[in-house]
Amino acid sequence: MSSTILLQAIINGLLLAGIYMIVSLGLNLIYGVMRIVNYSQGELLMFGMYFSYWLFVLTGINTYLSIPIVCGILFILGALLHMYIVEPLLKLPYQSQVVTFVGLIYSLQYTALLLWSPNYRNVIIEFASKSIRLSVITIPLGRLLAALISFFSALFLYIFLKKTTLGLFIRATSQDPVAALMLGIDIKKVRILTFAIGSALMGIGAGIMLPLYYVYPFIGTYYTIIALIIITLGGLGNFLGTIIGSIIIGLVEAVFGTFINVEIALAIAFLVFIFLLIVRPTGILGE
């Protein structure tokens, strides 16, 4: 009996990991290239969810199908944010970066509050709320689809980074900006592109999360923290590490959440995180 519950918890954890993965990859990409922690990543996700919500309400486009549109909007928003706010920050001390990103958090949260009120909103998609039964375990279709889309986006991003010239530029800038500059790479443009892609990934997160969760103006900070933990676990800037990190956190949350409760599960995850920061600050896969 308890082994089926455990199996179910593991499945739930893996599916949850898919959602965490996409948010963390965006944060990680930005950190990898610019060595800057975008504390307002979750707020971009929140904006993406609202865009996705309004597209659904106003035009009836399914949130999964509207992912490219929302990604496009967030891509432009990210590029603008980078050019006018983030780029000048790169030369400033860490304290000023924190102030700016917290400023961005407040600006985005309260803009959303003004525009869309504090009400919890969600989108009901018929097939996403169904689930399939495999003998003793249940797999919710919405979560399965979310995990699959997230996984294939990660794969696509990985191929983009490894196989294309632009991806090569991004990796080069991430490894050594000065050398990249000397080799003729326009690192300013690479940074804009990176921040824009990091933001656009939140569009994918938004599309897969909206059928599963409610959206409200203050949903973002929680995902930022989870993502920070995940990318630190995997090693800041490390792509594969982020994927492993999200699986660990997803499993911890689902398994301990099933057997104790979700709050204690998260408290344990945070405690493990502090412990890992201390004994292995470079993360599981870091050098």
Partner: protein, 324 residues
């Protein structure tokens, strides 16, 4: 050294004079409330600056210490019906204990910069989750009442009593911050903030002084939490343990100027009355406008005055550093 302007101390004395007679003028309750909350934030921000500004270790989890002070007081008073003094001392001791453990672990093993920030955020989140899940002790997400019998027995209005208490706490912490800034400890912390390796090479015990700054800051913050609990009489995890409280303490402090003793107080006394007053004036649908403006202000200040808005005012003041 010739005086180039007026010392900030003179402004402070005038401010104290005005502040101490406010309750005598019997202002509307809500004016007194705004001044009290502003002073509480000025107190919390100055406490934060001891570690975040002086030592340069940016914590985005100071609500953890506010929460420890507030919740331990509330639990001691409400669940166990014991004395306030016990709550205060237990709150402060627990805060110091937790700061020692976290600080020692982080500083000993070179967790700094963003990594230190993450670990403080995680600490606050752990406490938040624990408070939410231990409903039978903490009241869970709904919060807990803080019955303060001692305050009701006083001959004066409890709100006025609270006002004088926080005024005293604020003045004490500002003078302490000033004292530390121009002491050996203060100079050690600046050296550590600017270059840890160089400080270590000069023979400064970096671990010891960073820990000292963190413990001092968290103990003072926990005391602020105790005041919060007593003043509001009711606390919730979203009020005292939320990340948004941590953000507000840290950014208000940095906006004012966390590297100088009067900076955080300046920031809090400018920002908090503004947000509180606009919030009550606008109300309704526009309740978010003050914080939206605050967010924009943060983005601008970080760019034009990275050391804080005190820089803009500082040309009117004597450069205290030059006095030697």
């Amino acid at each position: 050294m010739e005086k180039k302007g007026t010392s900030p101390l003179i402004f402070l004395f005038i401010a104290i004079l005005i502040a101490s007679i406010i309750p005598i003028l019997s202002p509307p309750y809500y004016v007194l409330h705004i001044v009290t909350v502003s002073l509480l934030f000025a107190y919390l921000c100055t406490s934060w600056a001891l570690v975040g500004g002086y030592a340069g270790q940016v914590s985005l989890g100071h609500s953890a210490f506010v929460g420890i002070g507030a919740y331990l007081t509330a639990i001691i008073l409400y669940r166990f019906k014991l004395s306030l003094l016990l709550g205060v001392s237990l709150g402060i001791l627990t805060a110091i204990g937790i700061a020692l453990v976290l600080g020692y672990a982080c500083f000993k093993f070179g967790v700094r910069g963003p990594y230190f920030t993450f670990s403080t955020m995680a600490l606050a989140e752990i406490l938040y989750m624990l408070v939410i899940s231990r409903r039978e002790i903490t009241g869970g997400a709904l919060g807990i009442v803080v019955p303060v019998e001692a305050l009701r027995k006083l001959p004066i209005n409890p709100k006025i009593a609270c006002y004088y208490i926080i005024l005293f706490m604020f003045l004490a912490v500002v003078f302490l911050a000033r004292k530390i800034q121009y002491s050996k400890l203060g100079y050690y912390l600046v050296a550590i903030r600017e270059d840890e390796e160089a400080a270590e090479a000069c023979g400064i015990n970096v671990l010891k002084y960073k820990l000292l700054a963190l413990c001092l800051s968290s103990a003072l913050t926990a005391l602020g939490g105790v005041f919060y609990a007593i003043y509001y009489g009711y606390i919730t995890p979203d009020g005292v343990l939320s990340l948004s409280l941590s953000f507000q303490i840290a950014t208000t402090s940095l906006v004012g100027g966390a590297k100088i003793w009067f900076g955080p107080a300046l920031g809090a006394l400018l920002v908090i009355p503004f947000t509180e007053i606009t919030r009550s004036l606008l109300g309704g649908t526009f309740i978010g406008v003050p914080l939206l403006l605050y967010g924009i202000l943060l983005v601008i200040v970080a760019r034009v005055a990275p050391n804080g808005i005190y820089e803009i005012f500082s040309k009117y003041f004597v450069k205290e550093e030059e006095r030697g």
